[in-house]
Symmetry: C2
Subunit: 161 residues, 2 copies
């Protein structure tokens, strides 16, 4: 069976964060507008995205060092299995961020968002609508992250290669 898959880069993030240093660790604290500039081939596929309040952005964590089974998360003093964290040093380093959608420009193949915890130039792999009936489970128990408080926590260089 195949052990790797080639996926298309559909565009890139334009963001105020030049490096992971001091970037918020989750989309909760990211203030100014960021944009995602798609390759013009993909502009028409943005049709009908307007009207969604939030979207998922899937991106390649292109600056991350190679994966480790255990990582030291920002939100805990003990190492954790990487699949029990959202750390970027994963076997397939796909970032998943839930962001607020502000503007869709199908003609210019561009969207504006807030809350994207990705550095400038990050390759974007996919955009999906956020649908509460599929995606929202407010009471779901969050294991070791149950008592974690991500607000105000900032990234450092620990996962950068």
């Amino acid at each position: 069976m195949s052990t790797s898959v080639a996926l298309r880069v559909i565009g890139h993030v334009r963001s105020q964060f030049a490096s992971p240093q001091n970037m918020p660790i989750q989309p909760v604290d990211v203030g100014p507008l960021q944009s995602i500039e798609l390759d013009p081939d993909f502009g028409p596929a943005l049709c009908d995205l307007e009207g969604f309040e939030r979207i998922w952005v899937l991106f390649h964590c292109h600056l991350s060092r190679d994966w480790q089974a255990l990582v030291q998360p920002f939100l805990c003093s003990q190492p954790k299995g990487v699949f029990a964290t959202r750390a970027p040093s994963r076997p397939s380093p796909i970032g998943l961020s839930n962001v607020a959608l502000h503007r869709v420009d199908t003609t210019r193949s561009r969207i504006e968002v807030t809350g994207l915890d990705a550095v400038d130039g990050t390759p974007v792999l996919d955009i999906k609508p956020y649908v509460p009936s599929f995606d929202s489970h407010p009471e779901s128990v969050a294991g070791w992250l149950e008592s974690a408080e991500p607000h105000g926590v900032r990234s450092d260089g620990r996962f950068v290669r």
Copy 2:
């Protein structure tokens, strides 16, 4: 800039669904247990996942035909831009499913879940914990999907290559 990214397959889905025909279109109606069997290299990275009620499974929609800018969704009679849908025929065909976690077997590199809308043999790319403070936005407006009712809707062969 790179136009594609190679990502690792970490394991495969074991499921009652041999093909997309008649599979639920979202994780809401999938009854029996499914499992994800990881490559043994990745078993130790499952540590600490137990205790999370739900997880994200990111998988390669390996049976999908190539992307189209507009697709005919299951939940609407009008074509929609593919980035405004969860259809699998995407430029980077990554499936994103929110599933209930039942068992973690780190030693056997295996987890058991319910609600995974992926066929048997689907290559899995990543597993992440579901964290309500990052992922849950119950009031988020869902554009054209606001009035859609996915329960009971089943897939057909429209996106299969």
